[in-house]
């Protein structure tokens, strides 16, 4: 018996090896490196200096660390998760109805995913522009005043969130659409025979069957939202302008202020945050997932 288990283990490891070596080298290795560095003071050019937990202490106690501010911004961006899921679900539902011209719509809805960071930043930079931007023109035609989307500290996060939802909902819509396609029509037909309205059908059939999708998109959405970097950085031309979240600060401290140790410490706190939120999500919402 022991022989077979040993052989099984060997086969298992053999399959895993190509994947695991790379994983060890390019993921675990650097992660351990950054963990160790978080206990040092390293400005990239001279030798690292061991400072014990000074970085972590500075993070929580120093006023210039603005930890509360950064945390608040990071948590604010979580708002994109329900927003993009709601939009995605609506879009996917409409596509699923298979109206005429659906193929055209499917292509249109995919466009945000296909564009890369720079054209999107330019396009949305123009849309959110204060003087001549599309959004402000629209608002002014409704009588609302101009908003300095990318400059006013009260609105900049909302402006960037609009852009993130624009792109994120397109991606999520693909997944929702596939999930909706997988729900057998008979279920709806039976419910219709029983006299259930479309609305009721949605809530009692569709939504419960989508819970695994909700779960997947929710958790990847939370992880992604807390790690939002490129949109903020590119939209504000690298200056972050008041929308810094924890991860922008990590980048900033590492490459603009050359405090690698501090940045590593901050990134580990961010990791803990993500981990806790994900674990919470996993533990409490997993039970709600039903399988057909």
């Amino acid at each position: 018996m022991k022989n077979a288990t040993f052989r099984h283990a060997l086969v298992g490891y053999a399959f895993l090896l190509p994947n695991f070596i790379g994983f060890l080298l390019f993921t675990i290795g650097p992660i351990l490196f950054s963990f160790v560095i978080s206990f040092f003071d390293w400005n990239l050019f001279s030798a690292p200096v061991f400072v014990d937990t000074a970085n972590y202490q500075a993070l929580f106690t120093s006023t210039s660390s603005r930890f509360g501010f950064l945390l608040g911004n990071s948590l604010f961006f979580l708002i994109v998760v329900p927003a993009q899921m709601a939009v995605a679900l609506t879009v996917a539902y409409l596509l699923n109805e298979n109206l005429r011209g659906s193929l055209l719509f499917k292509v249109i809805f995919f466009i945000p995913v296909v564009l890369s960071v720079i054209p999107i930043a330019i396009i949305w930079g123009y849309i959110l522009d204060t003087e001549n931007g599309l959004l402000n023109t629209l608002l002014m035609s409704f009588g609302v005043g101009k908003i300095a989307w990318l400059f006013d500290l009260t609105w900049i996060k909302t402006g960037i969130s609009l852009m993130v939802v624009w792109q994120g909902s397109a991606f999520s819509a693909i997944i929702y659409y596939a999930a909706l396609q997988g729900i057998p029509d008979q279920l709806y037909e039976v419910a219709a025979l029983d006299g259930a309205s479309r609305w009721k059908q949605f809530w009692s059939i569709t939504m419960p069957l989508l819970t695994p999708t909700h779960f997947f998109l929710g958790i990847t959405g939370v992880i992604g939202a807390l790690q939002l970097f490129a949109p903020i950085y590119v939209m504000t031309h690298g200056t972050a302008g008041g929308a810094q979240n924890l991860i922008v600060e990590v980048y900033w401290k590492a490459y603009q202020e050359f405090q690698m140790g501090y940045a590593s410490a901050l990134s580990w706190i961010l990791f803990l945050l993500i981990f806790i939120l994900s674990a919470f999500y996993w533990k409490y919402l997993r039970r709600k997932v039903e399988y057909a």
């Binding site: 099984h8 086969v11 298992g12 490891y13 399959f15 895993l16 190509p18 994947n19 695991f20 790379g22 994983f23 080298l25 390019f26 993921t27 290795g29 650097p30 950054s34 939009v87 409409l94 596509l95 109805e97 109206l99 719509f105 499917k106 292509v107 249109i108 995919f110 945000p112 995913v113 564009l115 890369s116 720079i118 330019i122 123009y126 849309i127 001549n132 023109t137 624009w166 693909i174 997944i175 659409y177 596939a178 999930a179 997988g182 037909e189 695994p212 999708t213 997947f216 992880i223 970097f229 924890l246 991860i247 990590v250 490459y255 690698m260 990791f271 993500i274 981990f275 399988y291 057909a292």
Partner: protein, 318 residues
Amino acid sequence: MRRGPLTTAFFYAMLLAFSAWYVVPFVWALVTSVKHPGMVFDGRWLPYARSQAIMLEGKEVEMRIVEERGDALLMRISGTGELREIPRAEIEHISPNWKNYTEAWNIVPFGRYFLNSILVSMLMTLGQLITCSLGGYAFSRLQFPGRDAIFLLYLATLMIPGPVLTVPIYLLLREYRLLNTYQGVILPGLFSAYGTFLLRQFFQTIPRDLEDAARIDGAGRFGVYLRIILPLSGPALAALATFVFIGSWNDFFWPSIVLTDPDMLTLPVGLAHFNDIYLFEYGRLMAGSMITIAPAVAMYLLFQRFITRGVVMTGLKG
């Protein structure tokens, strides 16, 4: 499901509203890509060009714009300096500037960048398909000590913020002399926890009986992997391939750090490199961007069906 005419109309209305939201920014980019210099931010949705000379009282007169006055333009006649107000329609006409596309193609070595991007993306996709399917199979079907613990470790690494890892990975690449090579761009992304996760979920939905039958027939583990698991995973592999391809096609930050040889750049990096912050040619930049998205759209259209089936089967739907 039966649908009344009112509901249909409502659905169409909503579809159109959402389409507008998704497509309007794109249409702006498309229109901008054919606009002439100096007319890019004029706030209009069609590309206009201005004539330098018009027929005035039977003679061709050269005039230049001085001021915009609503429906008319104040023009200054070149020879005499006289000012005249001319209706807009006589000076401006709709004229797409296709030179943006030809210039973008010529000035930026798009052909080479296309090939580079295709090479990198294909290698990345191929590599990930292989490593993630091997790994996914190991995690879903094989027994070995620490299996679940290692898998949770994989998941946890999805949550690590990226910026701090740049320097250690860069140091690693330098150690192995992988800087400025395509391997340097591909390798760090090759061992994707996300891909392994996705395929593991999928493999778990394949009925064990098929596998057991094959094992009884004498197939080894690898044979099972090759002849049972892989063929049945078409949709999931296609889905993963599409996501990886598009992701690496558009990836900007990592290639821009690793690749320094101007001949080796991939599309997004090449596009950025040749348009710096003192940029003026927005029309041309948009044209370049339009060119770059073509393969990604093509890939999506081709694999669209597979993605749907693949996602369904990974159990994301239930």
